[in-house]
Subunit: 164 residues, 2 copies
């Protein structure tokens, strides 16, 4: 049993998983952004492209729901992808209010490249961990992610709360 003296020194931040994960997470996101920049892509756009690729023809509202964003935000994101020639707004087959969002062939060419960059970042991050340690780390992080109510494969980015 430990008694806590009133002037006990504060525990160092760097010994907390929550601090380390947040410190490394922001660094990792920044480096990924830098790696992606030569492709003219940012992480948000990449994440959105991935989710469009998983199921083409979704409406902007569906994509916003999946990613936990407001539909207003999705407008600008799709605008950007469209301007970059990576996404198309097609007429929705059954709802004339909505668009069906599709990838362009350029996006299909670019996605594997971006994925390769993600692999490079991954390799850099876990560089000096053994294979067993990498598996351990990913396993532990995935368990926490699943339990703390993260939608699998959805990155909050720097975006805030979704629908009210």
């Amino acid at each position: 049993m430990r008694s806590v003296s009133p002037s006990a020194p504060l525990p160092p931040l760097e010994s907390r998983a929550s601090f380390l994960v947040s410190q490394l997470g922001i660094q990792s996101a920044q480096r990924f952004a830098a790696g992606l920049a030569p492709l003219g892509l940012n992480p948000n756009q990449f994440g959105l492209l991935v989710h469009v690729a998983r199921a083409e023809g979704q409406s902007q509202q569906q994509l916003a729901d999946t990613l936990g964003l407001h539909r207003n935000t999705m407008v600008a994101l799709i605008d950007d992808l469209e301007a970059r020639g990576l996404a198309e707004r097609r007429r929705h087959p059954r709802d004339r209010r909505a668009y069906a969002i599709h990838l362009t062939s350029e996006a299909r060419r670019l996605l594997p490249e971006a994925s390769r960059i993600a692999d490079e970042q991954e390799a850099l991050l876990v560089e000096d961990l053994s294979r067993a340690e990498r598996t351990q780390l990913i396993g532990l992080l995935a368990r926490i992610s699943a339990r703390t109510g993260q939608r699998a494969g959805v990155h909050p980015g720097y975006a805030g709360p979704g629908e009210p």
Copy 2:
């Protein structure tokens, strides 16, 4: 050996440490911000307070260097702390251009409370990991953090690059 077909499916994001650490890191930072809010503190202010507490009497420029921020940014941060009654600008004993930044007694009262909140967040994050697993996780993250050139105990926050 694996041959990569041109239309190979993209590897799921959630199997990458870099994705998971970034996803969890941002979530962790947001939860910490929410936990700190009742104290009228945000994570940046808490981080700054910790670094002031480690060595009182530093100049704003010294603190900015330590945290990797621009001195312009430090002005507003210290302004906020001063307005909250948590920091004092005193005359620097040897340089009349500079201030010596000190904690107030209110800050000394608040810091342990904030630290307790950080402990709660930590407990919540690693809730269903065994003691051995927690040690493993922290060890692996700390190794990566040390290698990837993170200043120990310095959180990049959402702040960008420091001095040019």
